[in-house]
Structures are given as C-alpha cells and as structure tokens.
C-alpha cells in the first residue's frame, strides 16, 4: 500500500521500507508479532484518520484497506474475548467428567456382571434344587392309598340320595272352621259332651284356636254349652238337647 500526505500526520508518513509499504501495513505486522497490544489500539481513531485523509482512494486500494481494517478488528475482537480457534473447540470439562464417571462405573460394575454370569451358569447346571422339596410335615400328612373295597364303599355312600329337605315351613296349613264345627257336632251327637283338651290333643296352636272358635260358634247358635270350672283348665262342651235342631 502506498500513502502520502502531510508530515505531521503519522499515518501520512511516506514510509517505504524493504518489507512494508505504508504505516497500516507495518502496524498489522507489528500486531501479528504481538509487539503492539492490539487491545489497547484505538481502531476507531485509526479508521477515521484514514478516511479523513486527503487522498482519493481508488477501488483496489480501498478494498485492500477495508480488508486490512477488518483483519485488525477481528484480531482485536478475539483478543478481547480471550479465546482463539483452538479454545472454541475445547471439550466441556463437566461433560468430560460425566463421561469419565460413566466409564469408571462400567468398569467397576463389570465384575458383578461377570459374577452374575457365573451364577447363571451355576443355576443352569443345577436346574434349581436337585432334591425333593416336599416338607416332611406335608409328606407325613399324606395318607396311604385305600383298598378298592374301601373306596367303593365310600363312593356308594356318596351316591345315596340325600333326604329331601323339609318344605314344611313354606306350607301354611289350611283349617276350615266349618269342618271343625261339623266334627264337633258329630262328637256331641255320639257322646253328648266332649273335653276340649281331648279334642285338641296333639294339634298345633292354630288348630286349637280354630277349635275354640268352633266351640264358641256352637254355643252362639245354642247347640252347646261350655263349662270351664277352673280358670285355664279344661273346657267341657255339652250338647244342648232341646234346641239341637241344626242337623
């Protein structure tokens, strides 16, 4: 790059050395050699001073200048961030720790995996426990087989039809007062009198009640008289002769 201008402006110094053409070229080389601390270099001032210069920039020179300034900006940015390309691809130390732990855990667990394989082989060889496992108390409880005749007798007993279950509680006894009245009349006609206790001997409470109602009915009709000398004692039913015309 060639540059020319006033002597007072350092950027306009007619600097021409064997290896450098102009101050910006030299500056970039010094920066790359780290002889100038790029982080402390005011790039904005450098750009403004360059653009305010009196020279007319032709396109090739302008492109070269822009490329040079961009290189400086990139170098300064990397220096300020404090990382270079190698650091960008450095592995995450935390992730590495986790991975190393995983490897260590796998290596530490491997013996138990192998021990498990050994146990599996023992299990396979044994086919589980190779002796009888029936507990002695259960074995002792098992009875000896019975003789055929004992078994047949037992089966015959099982084949006998069981007695029919009683349905008595489901059948209501039907008692007709008229029938009892007719029966009572016949008894009175034959004997002239009957005892209530004898008449109801062996019958249930319902039949006794119905018989009492029949006696009261005959007394109501005047066909019989009732006598009970003792409270709660026997009742005697007497036939009434004169008015006994109900037949």
């Amino acid at each position: 790059m060639s540059a020319s201008g006033r002597v007072a402006d350092p950027l306009r110094l007619p600097l021409e050395l064997d290896l450098f053409e102009g101050p910006l070229d030299l500056l970039l080389t010094l920066v790359l050699r780290e002889e100038i601390e790029l982080a402390e270099l005011p790039l904005r001032d450098l750009v403004e001073a360059t653009l305010r210069g009196p020279d007319e920039w032709d396109p090739p020179t302008t492109g070269e200048l822009v490329l040079l300034l961009c290189s400086l900006v990139e170098l300064k940015a990397r220096r300020l961030v404090g990382e270079d390309d190698e650091d960008d691809y450095a592995p995450d130390p935390d992730a590495e720790l986790v991975r190393e732990r995983l490897a260590a855990q796998l290596i530490a667990f491997a013996p138990f995996q192998r021990a498990g394989m050994w146990l599996s082989m023992q299990d396979g060889i044994d086919g589980a426990v190779r002796y009888r496992r029936v507990p002695l108390d259960r074995a002792a409880a098992l009875q000896a087989p019975h003789a055929p005749n004992e078994l047949s007798e037992a089966i015959i007993r099982l084949m006998v039809a069981p007695p029919m279950p009683s349905m008595g509680h489901m059948n209501r006894e039907r008692i007709n007062v008229g029938e009892i009245v007719a029966e009572l009349r016949g008894a009175l006609r034959r004997t002239g009198r009957v005892s209530f206790d004898e008449l109801t001997d062996g019958t249930d409470r319902l039949a006794q009640g119905m018989t009492l109602m029949a006696c009261l009915e005959l007394a109501r009709r005047g066909e019989a008289n009732l006598a009970q000398p003792v409270p709660f004692g026997d009742i005697t039913v007497h036939r009434v002769q004169p008015g006994f015309a109900g037949e």
Partner: protein, 193 residues
C-alpha cells in the same frame, strides 16, 4: 451306632430330608459324634460317585442327596420348572451385587448397577433369594442379604463359598476395551481416553 449302620442311617436321612441337613443335626438324629458323621459322609460320597445318578453334596450349610448336575435335562422332563422359577439377567446381576456386598441397601445397589433396583429387589424378596438384614442406623435404608435358599439354588456351601470378586475384575486391556466402546458410541473423545 456302628459306622456301617451310621452311613446307612445318614443315607436314609439325606434321602428323606427336603432341606440340607447340617452336621450338627445329623449328629443329633443319628446319635453319633461329628467325626463319625464326617467319616460316614465321606463314605457316602464315595458310594455315590460318577457312576451314580445321585450325589451327596454340601450346600447352604448342610448336606443333601441330590441328582447329578449332568442329569438335569432328563430330570426336568419329569419336573418341568415353572417359568416364574427362572431369574432374569437383571435379577441375577442384582443378586451378585448383594451376594458380594451384603448387607447392602437398595440405594447402594442402584449406585453400583447404575439403574434403579427397586423392582428387582422386590422380586428377589418375593422369591426368597434375599432377606432384610436390618438398618445401619435408625431411619436409614433397609439393607439386604442373601438367604440359604439362594445358597441352595446355586449350590453354594455357604455365603463365603462365592469365588473371589477379584477373579471377575477387568484387566487393563479389558478396561480399555470398555473405554473404546464408549468412544465408538460417542461418549468419550479420543484424546481424553
């Protein structure tokens, strides 16, 4: 009891017993001294040699008379093993961890295995392979240990009859192979292995 009669008595007892019978029990049952019982057991061991379908073996702290291992296949035709009697690989590995590190708690088992051991431990408890062994401190996690049923199943004389765990440790090359597998799977960078 003479020794001849003693070995026949022990033979009958071992044939009859559904569980391993300890030497102490055999001494009591046969009314004999431990040395006589040991001699009679040795005699029985000779009698039930390779030519026999049975063998006299010491497992789970006692002695049993059992079928020989090589006849397992033909025996299984008579006595089909129910499917639930088999142990899954996860259960076997958990059992190995417990057997070597007992008493050990469920969180510790999970740390060794790298996965939760809750269901597997429950299954092993149900099968009677392990049992509770108390807590290290009040309020701490329950610890577990293997049972005599475990020793019976795997034909171990006792809890100390396992091969040393060092026998199963990885060699340097095998450990490196593990790391290589991790690298191949993208879990480790080459320069960090």
């Amino acid at each position: 009891m003479s020794e001849i009669a003693l070995d026949r008595a022990l033979e009958a007892l071992l044939f009859l017993s559904p569980v391993p019978v300890s030497v102490v029990q055999l001494c009591e049952l046969a009314e004999s001294s431990p040395s006589d019982v040991q001699r009679a057991l040795a005699l029985l061991g000779t009698r039930y040699g390779n030519e026999s379908g049975l063998e006299v073996a010491e497992i789970a702290g006692g002695w049993v008379m059992r079928t020989r291992a090589e006849l397992g296949a033909v025996c299984d035709r008579l006595r089909a093993r129910p499917p639930d009697e088999r142990l899954s690989p996860a259960a076997i590995e958990t059992l190995a961890v417990i057997a070597y590190l007992e008493p050990i708690s469920r969180p510790e088992i999970a740390r060794v295995r790298g996965v939760s051991a809750e269901a597997t431990v429950g299954s092993l408890l149900d099968r009677g392979m392990i049992e509770e062994a108390g807590r290290a401190v009040d309020g701490g996690a329950m610890r577990y240990r293997t049972t005599p049923a475990f020793q019976e199943r795997f034909g171990l004389r006792g809890s100390s009859d396992l091969p040393p765990i060092t026998q199963f440790e990885l060699s340097g090359a095998e450990a490196e192979a593990v790391r290589q597998r991790l690298r191949d799977a993208g879990h480790l960078d080459d320069e960090d292995a």
